[in-house]
Amino acid sequence: MTRPRYLPGDLAVWLLILAELAVFALLFVGFAVARAFDPATFAAGRAELHPGVGLASTLSLIVASYLVATATVGYRRGRDGTAVRLWLALLVSLAYTLGKLWEYGQLYGAGYHLGSDTFFMFYFFLTFFHFLHVVVGQGVLLALARKARRPWQDDRDTNAMESGACYWHMVDLVWLALFPLLYVVA
């Protein structure tokens, strides 16, 4: 038996997601073009980053995304534990936030900023722009977790839940491309 095809979440959120993905895609292309013009600067800049922190950030976002995904499925089916999963996801994602802040502190202490060179311009803008998205996502998770804490109701707002979750996964998706581009490819 096939279920009718169904888009999780709100159309408005999907329009936003498409727009955001387009912005990030254009920024990635810009990054690649700039890198082609000046590979030495980019290689030197990359050497200053901390791949360990980057890796840990990635893992924290993936795990959080997993928790959000299972929370959404559970919520739709009326299972318990949605709130717990969302709180856990929020907690896990804090590893990303703290890691990023630590790395900003390190780099800033070493004298790097938005205007240092083209690599750091992209590094700071891309990661900070993404960082802000994560912070917004964390706010969304917080709101959803508080909402889900309330006892089971018939009129569960699966629209809000799925919309928030998809936004969060979009943030994760962007990072999955951003992380290797910035930290790994040498």
């Binding site: 095809r5 993905l21 990635f28 791949p51 893992l59 993936i62 799925e162 979009m170």
Partner: protein, 76 residues
């Protein structure tokens, strides 16, 4: 879902570990990993596997387009 998570973790860690081990020429692997991870996130986590096809492909197309554009634009 838990399987998806496992694959995502492996795909993320693998290039980093290999790079740390001093291997060169990892770019194709890194890009392939991006594609696999994006596929899983979109289809499983976002649950677009069951979404109307045009939505599924619109979002699924993103990662390949980025990878392709990066390859072309960067002349890699």
């Amino acid at each position: 879902m838990i399987l998806t998570l496992m694959i995502l973790i492996v795909c993320t860690a693998l290039p980093v570990l290999l790079a740390n081990a001093g291997l060169q020429g990892l770019l194709p692997l890194v890009l392939a990993m991006i594609l696999i991870k994006a596929w899983l996130v979109v289809d499983r986590f976002m649950e677009l596997r069951h979404a109307p096809r045009h939505w599924r492909w619109a979002v699924q197309a993103w990662a390949p387009m980025v990878v392709l554009a990066v390859i072309v634009a960067g002349g890699w």
